[in-house]
Symmetry: C2
């Protein structure tokens, strides 16, 4: 499967950028909601450090995952599809070839 | 001023341990309250990362500050007195010599 040399048209780049931002917004909003919930029930300092550890790990994970360079976007979208942050509908506008690759990778 | 070789009686150690725990509890409870408050108004991901940065810095600061080895406790108590996490009353039970040293350092 040829993945890294895929060309992106300008229209596809716009679709990709929007989908990328949408997924990032969904996932970070969910994280914000979770942190708000966890923080509201904080009573012990050990829980505070656990919250900090969790936030450190999630930030590191998100920094690594949301790589918006076009050669890697196929993989990024596959992961986001797999995790439920994107649906195939959110990626409409990409070529069928790209959608097929993304869907196939998401099932792995 | 001779500080590092100060001897601590068993009774003084008990006073010191209690005061140390009291200050730690006060400061971490204040931090928990602050984080709960900040988290409750989180809406943007940049604010979440700011909260994380703040928590990282405070954790690092607290880890360094709360050093309960007896040779350094005079300095630790002086700082806690200066910052308001302890009062001179909380340290009653220590020798007058130690209290004088702690109070003098707290004013620096």
């Amino acid at each position: 499967m040829q993945l890294t040399e895929t060309l992106w048209s300008e229209a596809e780049k716009q679709t990709a950028d929007s989908a990328f931002q949408l997924a990032y917004s969904r996932e970070t909003n969910a994280l914000i909601e979770q942190i708000r919930r966890q923080a509201s029930s904080l009573t012990a300092v050990d829980d505070l450090w656990s919250l900090h550890d969790y936030l450190s790990a999630r930030r590191h994970e998100l920094d690594g995952k949301y790589d918006n360079r076009y050669p890697t976007l196929i993989f990024v979208f596959a992961q986001l599809l797999k995790e439920g942050w994107l649906s195939v509908e959110d990626l409409q506008g990409l070529s069928n070839e790209k959608l097929t690759k993304i869907s196939a990778l998401a099932k792995m």
